[in-house]
Symmetry: C2
Subunit: 104 residues, 2 copies
């Protein structure tokens, strides 16, 4: 029997601006957030276009998840990630838009 991996997400009111900023300050994670924003929908863990190893990708996903920037949804053996855009826009109106406006 396979154990179900449990992930912990901060509730909206537990999301801290310092953690969000620190998570977004990494160029790979920022690029992942841009890809999620551009997609406007979920991206599976294998669907990100990033030049990192699987374990590094897992680390980045965890950092984004624990900061409150993304959510994950398990479906079969795949995990789909989505941007917590509503939560972030509610807490820090303009932040995400400003970050995404940065030239690449």
């Amino acid at each position: 029997m396979a154990a179900t991996q449990q992930y912990v997400y901060p509730d909206r009111d537990e999301i801290r601006i310092e953690a969000v900023l620190a998570a977004l300050a990494d160029p790979v994670r920022l690029d992942m957030v841009r890809q999620l924003a551009d997609a406007g929908s979920e991206i599976s863990c294998s669907g990100f276009d990033v030049a990192v190893t699987k374990s590094t990708l897992t680390h980045h996903l965890r950092t984004l998840r624990e900061a409150g920037i993304i959510m994950g949804r398990q479906q079969g053996t795949a995990r789909y990630n989505s941007l917590r855009r509503n939560d972030l826009d509610e807490l820090f109106p303009g932040l995400l838009q400003g970050v995404l406006a940065a030239r690449r």
Copy 2:
């Protein structure tokens, strides 16, 4: 003859989002930026209400300066710091507003 301390500031088009986010991710620096935004004017190096040593404050000011978040102006023996709000709003519209909206 006292040497004039020279500071290096990134031009607007040299300001990188990753450096801005990393600089703002520190709670003391974020608080200093909030104080500058609230003041709406310059704050001297001794005018920040932060519980850190002078050398730590100097470090934080340098980090903010090198990220392109603040400018400094020397006047006599005092140095006055101001937020580069126009530059940041132009480059990353909404970012600063969103960060400042975060509860303290």
